[in-house]
């Protein structure tokens, strides 16, 4: 367990250090998410009532697209100079490589979500603080499972030629239970439902997170060993 935690901390620290130096993922994926938000707000804004119905979908679509870009890019870094081979050769548990990469990506995705939430609120004329406090926790909860599953499939890009294509094709269908629960829960909240009414959706989201993280930890090693 100690080796797992040490390995996870080292890989996580490396992820953050590289991103702090380049700011590449935060800028590219963040701007992409904002672009999707702005374009959809321009295309779909009709009136205040309609915007409240559209905003949850826009929030989740922009967050998912930005996250998939971030996940692909973090593994592209491992392909460069074959750095992933250096990690796989080290004696840390291979599941800790997955855990470190997943946590590193999750921090970046959550940072992007923090930008997208107020952007959606402003563009769709919603209350910024209320949107952050109400939709924020659901988006963060959904991001955990989505990133956990995405990190696993993005890791396969270092072994296959299909790369980002495979990530998009495989990830969205498999992540659909979590995405559906997240979108519906956000829609209900934006429609004025109290938290108590969306608890079942949050349970689905939490179960999805748990399954995704456990699958990632268990399947990473076999996927990385040819």
């Amino acid at each position: 367990m100690k080796r797992f935690l040490t390995g996870t901390a080292l890989v996580f620290g490396k992820e953050l250090r590289v991103e702090l130096r380049t700011r590449e993922i935060l800028v590219t994926a963040g701007l992409f998410g904002l672009l999707v938000t702005v374009l959809t707000s321009l295309a779909f804004f009709l009136d205040d009532v309609t915007s409240q119905k559209i905003a949850p979908g826009v929030l989740w679509v922009s967050a998912c697209f930005a996250a998939i870009l971030a996940m692909g890019r973090t593994w592209a870094r491992e392909r460069e100079s074959d750095a992933i081979r250096g990690l796989l050769l080290s004696p840390i548990p291979r599941s800790s490589i997955y855990a470190g990469k997943m946590l590193g990506t999750l921090v970046l995705v959550l940072a992007i979500d923090l930008v997208l939430l107020p952007a959606v609120a402003i563009l769709f004329r919603l209350e910024v603080l209320a949107t952050l406090l109400r939709a924020g926790p659901i988006l963060f909860l959904g991001s955990i499972g989505y990133v956990a599953l995405g990190t696993l499939f993005a890791s396969m890009s270092v072994r296959t030629g299909a790369r980002e294509l495979m990530l998009s094709v495989v990830l969205f269908p498999l992540a659909s239970p979590g995405l559906l629960a997240g979108v519906v829960a956000t829609r209900e909240l934006f429609g004025g439902a109290p938290f108590s009414e969306i608890l079942d959706w949050l349970r689905v989201l939490a179960a999805f997170d748990l399954v995704a993280v456990v699958c990632g930890l268990v399947l990473f090693e076999p996927l990385m060993s040819e």
């Binding site: 250090r17 380049t22 074959d82 004696p91």
Partner: protein, 217 residues
């Protein structure tokens, strides 16, 4: 951390990738304190053999014994160092940051002291604080060499280590390999560079189409 062994022996190795048979019943042995050169044309299975020895690829059939051990997981990986054409480092981190990271990943007891000694041994100090992306081929290979031996591995696997190096770089590489051999490491060298093979190789294994077609006793 790590197992101890003085021989590495592969028996009946077969590796199949889809319709391609990369290795077909390979039996080879590597001993401590010797540099064994693995030769052969492109596609003969040299790199597949190296990846199996490094525990990066599982053989379809056959086994590799590291002394008394056949599969040691992380303890075995702690005794294997690999130097290949790709540096296996992070281009956005500095050389120093890369070496510190790998020293910690390898569980080196005093990572800072070990990195300091390697910076001196491979003359990395001058460029250690620059991002690795800015390094020349020779500088990259010095960092990669330091990374490969940072944990003083029992088994050192070298896959075309001299590609793109100038004469000074090759000299530095030869010196480093000789030091590792003198330390008692098992060294397997894959190279197309016949001059390098002649200088370092004490035993030769020749592969062709996945089979051993020649070996010194």
């Amino acid at each position: 951390m790590g197992l101890d062994f003085t021989t590495v022996e592969a028996r009946g190795l077969v590796k199949v990738f889809g319709p391609t048979r990369a290795l077909v019943g390979v039996d080879v042995r590597f001993d401590a304190g010797l540099v064994t050169v693995v030769e052969g044309p492109n596609g003969s299975g040299k790199s597949t053999l190296l990846n199996i020895l490094a525990q990066l690829v599982r053989p379809t059939r056959g086994e590799v014994r590291y002394g008394e051990h056949s599969r040691g997981g992380s303890e075995l990986r702690a005794q294997i160092g690999v130097l290949a054409h790709a540096a296996m480092i992070y281009p956005d981190l500095t050389g120093l940051e890369n070496l510190c990271l790998y020293a910690k990943l390898q569980g080196v007891a005093d990572p800072e002291a070990r990195v300091r000694s390697l910076l001196e041994r491979f003359e990395i100090g001058r460029f250690r604080d620059r991002p690795a992306r800015t390094y020349s081929r020779g500088q990259l290979q010095r960092i990669a060499l330091a990374r490969a031996v940072i944990h003083a591995p029992r088994l050192l696997l070298l896959d075309e280590p001299s590609t793109g190096l100038d004469a000074r770089g090759v000299e530095r590489l030869v010196r480093a390999v000789e030091e590792e051999r003198a330390r008692g490491a098992i060294v397997a060298l894959i190279t197309h560079d016949s001059a390098l093979a002649d200088r370092l190789g004490e035993r030769r294994i020749r592969l062709d189409r996945g089979r051993v077609v020649g070996a010194d006793s």
